[in-house]
Amino acid sequence: MPHPALMSPPARREIGADVYSEKLGMWIFLGSEVMFFTALIGSYIILRFGSPEQWSLPGVILNVPLTAVNTFLLICSSVTMVKAFAAIQDGDQKGLRTYLVATVIIGAAFVGVQVYEYVDLISEGFLPSGYGAGSHLAAEAAEGNLPASIGVYGSSFYTMTGFHGFHVSVGVISMAFVTWKAFRGDYTKEDHRGVEVIGLYWHFVDLVWIILFTIVYLV
């Protein structure tokens, strides 16, 4: 007579989160990304509460209208991404390709605007280390119109928006790869996992920007 435990039937295989592995993997990765950006936001809160005198009012140094345009671009790219996904769910290859190309272009435009913003801010004298020597902003600060020192503000601004911009850049490159595969006809109505997984990443990056735009530029 074998041990009773050996006589019981084998356990049924668990079905996990009830989604396919690539999607589950992306969600777990996004969970780690949530913690990454939360760490940045946590540091930002500490730095800002710790040195409030280094922050200028919203829109004084940073170009809010320009970044509002960027916010508009990212929201548009999110809707084109989800339209691409909806298209391939219906088996619409032309729609998939059109919307993916639109997403890549709008995403690249976001990165382009951010590069322009950085170049503009640096030429004004807003550096991660503080005011640029002899810059326009340094002169304003000397006259007492701006905070005397902005090193903490500058470094937290460039760290947060820089990491976000890096994520968008990675997204654009990955999206270009998915678009290339879409033109090759790799995605079908039955199997379009790649489109959904890159879409999750892309919407997450949009979601992070919504939070960052508010706390970095508007508050």
Binding site: L24, V79, T214
Partner: protein
């Protein structure tokens, strides 16, 4: 491989318009004669509202099963702990 996606397509352009309207409202908050604290609170609530719209409709969490949703929201209590912890450093 279309699990959790058997619903009809929502009106994504309506969500897009919704997000844009909320963004315009955010940009307008700074011009209102409210105190700084109220403005910050309203801006943060609007940002969370927009983030929820993206997660529910664009990331399809509205139509996912409960197990998947738990995965998605699992890190959020940790973010709240971090943010509340660092803020309390300065409040008390």
């Amino acid at each position: 491989m279309t699990d959790g996606q058997s619903h009809a397509h929502p009106n994504y352009w309506a969500i897009w318009a919704y997000l844009l309207i909320l963004t315009v409202v955010e940009l307008g908050i700074g011009f209102l004669p409210w105190s700084k604290e109220v403005q910050i609170l309203v801006l943060l609530l609007l940002a969370i509202w927009k983030a929820l719209l993206v997660a529910l409709f664009f990331m399809h969490l509205k139509w996912e099963g409960n197990r998947m949703r738990i995965f998605a929201i699992a890190p959020l209590p940790l973010t709240i702990i971090i943010v509340v912890a660092v803020i309390t450093e300065f409040v008390w």
